[in-house]
Symmetry: C2
Subunit: 130 residues, 2 copies
Amino acid sequence: MTETTQAVLDAIVFNADGLVPAIAQQFDTGEVLMMAWMNAEAVTETLETGRVCYWSRSRGKLWRKGESSGQEQSLKDFRWDCDGDTLLLEVEQKGVACHTGRRNCFFNAVRDGEPAVIAEVEISPDDLYG
Amino acid sequence: MTETTQAVLDAIVFNADGLVPAIAQQFDTGEVLMMAWMNAEAVTETLETGRVCYWSRSRGKLWRKGESSGQEQSLKDFRWDCDGDTLLLEVEQKGVACHTGRRNCFFNAVRDGEPAVIAEVEISPDDLYG
């Protein structure tokens, strides 16, 4: 591990499960793509390879974003907040960020007083994971 | 509680502590301002008043953003993600979002191989909380 990585890890406040939430934002458009979790190993790999790697809580292992779908995220800037307990990743998203095939995961909102889907599927999940 | 609020609460997956992370994004510029937590009561108040209210984990009570500092957030759109376990709030931030007096909380990054502060203090915390 580099000294830079160690300094960043020292600044991050991981929760009781050893995790920290990471928001991914498309670096040039500002679109918020997704939120996922990282442990120290995922932070280290992300900083040292420049390819975003999360920790999958459901699978209990490192999740190299795009490893199944090809929809990788390249790291443009790695930021953390005033309390050190949330990360903001400026990324370049290849294709779509969401497993539903939508560009970002935040496609649910209220319209006309009811929950509604506000974004189109851009790539079929069958094509992403088939 | 309105039927709309109930439908949104039904769509949200709160964690074991009854909380869900909420990302606040400035609606017009795309700037990611902060991340905080909400419980069902905070979601309800936010939806029904249009003023963003979080749950303060440190103080163990509702946190009407800006109640001490005056730096309120008006809700422009309330979104949730594919899994229902993260919220994205499109807001209009009055003044600055961060308690340090910076516009947003994500002012730490790596520059020249070292952690660095990349945003200026816009309002003195003494003025915000004095």
